[in-house]
């Protein structure tokens, strides 16, 4: 918009644009602005609505704000449901599933990242297969298998189903991180007298750590928020926070679900903030400016 004030006073630094150019610039800026606002409404709008709904007693259209406010639903959700229990269960399952995923996927990631072998590309792409089909269809066929293996409504069954969703993240991101460690850095450490195991932990793992941490946190969040599979395999014995949502939506007014959704967001947001501070903060990234 500031460009329009320049008309008639051409400066040396910025040569005068034609009128057509000015209009094009203004239209472009306007378009970008509109898109930005639309995106903001699209992303934040539902969350604002949900936040307001959590405190509403009566909220009828066309009014923009609830007519009457209340903390009633918060008391219902925090007191009436087994929130503490399901929260703990969610954390436990997510933690165990993520650790198991590390044990299974990180060695595979190392192999994908640091060596070439026959069928490497095919296997890497094959890992995507779990994401290519509708989740529910996949889970129902898994359920048949689980019944046969007596894994239904067992903790192990829930952990396996959550782990399946993390395989792609835990393989692809660490594989890229391992591949990015320059071979000469590893050779230099061997040259200085480090044995293969020491060099792996002090150089290779250390330099791939940012990528691995990102993968671990993304996997943990995926496990923590996993609802469909956990509901199918775990309920009614193992009720995690996301599966509790299902019964809340069915049995309570939508205000209660809004409260629960907000509560469910908290751990995810906290974890994402942690990632931002430790991984994207630049301290680790700085090290990679070396050629």
């Amino acid at each position: 918009m500031s460009a329009s004030t320049n008309v008639g006073t051409p400066s040396v630094a910025a040569p005068r644009r034609g009128t057509a150019g000015m209009i094009r610039l203004a239209v472009g800026k306007l378009a970008v602005g509109i898109v930005a606002i639309l995106l903001l409404v699209f992303i934040l709008g539902p969350m604002v609505w949900m936040g307001l709904d959590a405190f509403a007693r009566r909220w009828k259209s066309p009014s923009l704000l609830p007519q009457t406010w209340t903390m009633h639903w918060w008391h219902t959700v925090l007191g009436g449901t087994q929130l503490g229990h399901s929260l703990r269960l969610s954390f436990e399952f997510a933690l165990v599933a993520t650790l198991a995923s590390c044990v299974i996927c990180l060695p595979a990631a190392y192999a994908f990242g640091r060596s070439t072998f026959l069928g490497r590309k095919t296997i890497l792409l094959g890992l995507f297969a779990t994401n290519a089909f509708p989740k529910m269809g996949l889970f129902t066929s898994i359920a048949t298998l689980f019944y046969a293996m007596h894994l239904m409504t067992t903790a192990l069954g829930v952990i396996i189903i959550q782990l399946l969703g993390t395989v792609v993240t835990m393989t692809w991101i660490p594989a890229a991180a391992f591949a990015a460690v320059s071979p000469s850095l590893i050779e230099a450490a061997r040259d200085a007298g480090g044995g293969p195991i020491r060099v792996f932990f002090q150089i290779t793992m250390r330099l791939a750590a940012p990528g691995i941490i990102v993968a671990v946190i993304l996997s943990f969040l995926a496990c923590f928020d996993e609802a469909q599979g956990t509901y199918l395999v775990g309920s009614p014995k193992y009720v995690t926070m996301p599966t509790q949502m299902y019964s809340l939506v069915e049995n309570y007014p939508d205000q209660a679900a809004a409260v629960f959704a907000l509560v469910l967001t908290v751990p995810s947001v906290l974890l994402l903030l942690a990632v931002r501070r430790h991984v994207m903060g630049g301290h680790l990234a700085e090290g990679f400016q070396l050629k």
């Binding site: 320059s182 000469s184 850095l185 050779e187 230099a188 450490a189 061997r190 040259d191 200085a192 007298g193 480090g194 044995g195 020491r198 150089i203 250390r206 330099l207 680790l284 700085e286 090290g287 990679f288 400016q289 070396l290 050629k291």
Partner: protein
């Protein structure tokens, strides 16, 4: 200057006996023999793909040879992994660990050796002093300049007191001015510590200025292994002659009185290394330009290129283009006469010598292309 070279008296610092390496179905190094005396600095010089880096990696233990053996100080290390070898490598890209400080990088190998903390500190300080980087002790590698990174890499190698120092194109990532300074530093430190060193380079200037001996490599073989002066004065093969310094090549056999030019006239040559061959090589500084005509083959000055304390002159003589180095300052289109002091004669790429012939004139005197060390 040159350390003891007699193999009978001392065990060689490094000995490669018939090592070969095949990579991807291609023979990279073929039955290579190389002996390096203790304290000697040898350059492996050659065009890219000649096998020089592969050889270095076999000495360091990053590749294992298909055949032959690697002996260091008389001990066989052919199958040892890098961490078990008394070698230390300076990598082309320096390979400093980005998550460790300068001191951390240098001290890593000492920590691995379970040295005491105070002792590590002492050794790291010694190494930092050696490369004059005491002020960057706690800097991160990404924060210091390329030349400084290079010196950290050198300190990291030297702090381990290796029996053999390996350097893979250590100067290729530095700008031209810094390169000359750093190579002098490397040479000074290497001499002070008396450490057996193998330096890989494709830059003949670098090799000529730092090496005690140069092994010129081509196609996985050593073409010639000699001191810089010998290499320059008596290149054993046409490949070496073309790779080290400038050389005028006339593809013809010597005739009575000199070398035949394109139009059949004769360029007078005082000494031929042999009278039997198919190619004549003439160093630019062996050509004498006489401003008076009649003292040799008639020639016309085509172009002169100032090279600092001497000039490079491009001449046309009898239809052949010759390059000469001179202290005089002829102008383009001047008519001059040229003759040659010494010419080298090759047959099938190999230097021919008649035993009765006198040695070629000393190249370190007169207007040579090579600055004296």
């Amino acid at each position: 200057m040159t350390p003891v070279r007699s193999d009978a008296e001392t065990t060689p610092g490094l000995e490669l006996a018939g090592i070969s390496k095949v990579l991807g179905g291609r023979v990279i190094v073929e039955k290579m023999e190389l002996t390096v005396a203790p304290g000697e600095l040898i350059c492996l010089l050659g065009p890219s793909g000649c096998g020089k880096t592969t050889t270095l990696r076999m000495i360091g233990g990053f590749l294992s040879p298909e055949s032959g053996s690697v002996r260091i100080g008389g001990k066989d290390y052919t199958t040892s992994p890098p961490e078990k070898r008394p070698t230390a490598m300076v990598f082309q890209n320096y390979a400093l660990w980005p998550h460790m400080s300068v001191a951390g990088n240098i001290g890593f190998g000492l920590k691995v050796r379970k040295m005491k903390r105070t002792q590590i500190r002492e050794r790291v300080d010694w190494a930092l002093d050696l490369v004059k980087l005491g002020h960057h002790r706690d800097s991160m590698p990404a924060r210091i300049s390329g030349g400084e990174q290079q010196r950290v890499a050198l300190a990291r190698a030297l702090v381990l007191e290796p029996q053999v120092l390996l350097m893979d194109e250590p100067l290729s990532n530095l700008d031209a001015k810094l390169r000359i300074q750093v190579r002098e530093d490397i040479r000074a430190i290497q001499r002070r510590l008396g450490i057996t060193t193998v330096l890989v380079t494709h830059d003949q200037d670098e090799a000529l200025s730092v090496a005690d001996r140069i092994a010129v490599m081509n196609d996985g073989r050593i073409e010639q292994n000699a001191s810089p002066a010998t290499l320059y004065a008596r290149p054993r093969t046409a490949f070496v002659a073309g790779f080290i310094g400038a050389m005028n090549t006339i593809e013809a056999a010597p005739v009575a009185g000199g070398a035949p030019l394109a139009d059949g006239s004769v360029l007078p040559v005082e000494h031929f290394s042999s009278h039997d061959g198919d190619t004549i090589g003439i160093r630019p500084e062996e050509i004498i330009i006489d401003t008076a005509t009649g003292h040799g083959a008639a020639a016309t000055v085509d172009r002169t290129i100032p090279r600092g304390h001497y000039r490079e002159v491009v001449l046309k003589a009898g239809g052949t283009t010759l390059r000469a180095f001179t202290d005089a300052s002829p102008e383009p289109d001047d008519r001059v006469s040229v003759r040659v002091r010494t010419a080298l004669v090759y047959r099938d790429g190999a230097l021919q010598t008649d035993s009765a012939q006198p040695a070629p004139s000393d190249v370190t005197t007169g207007s040579t292309a090579r600055p004296e060390r």
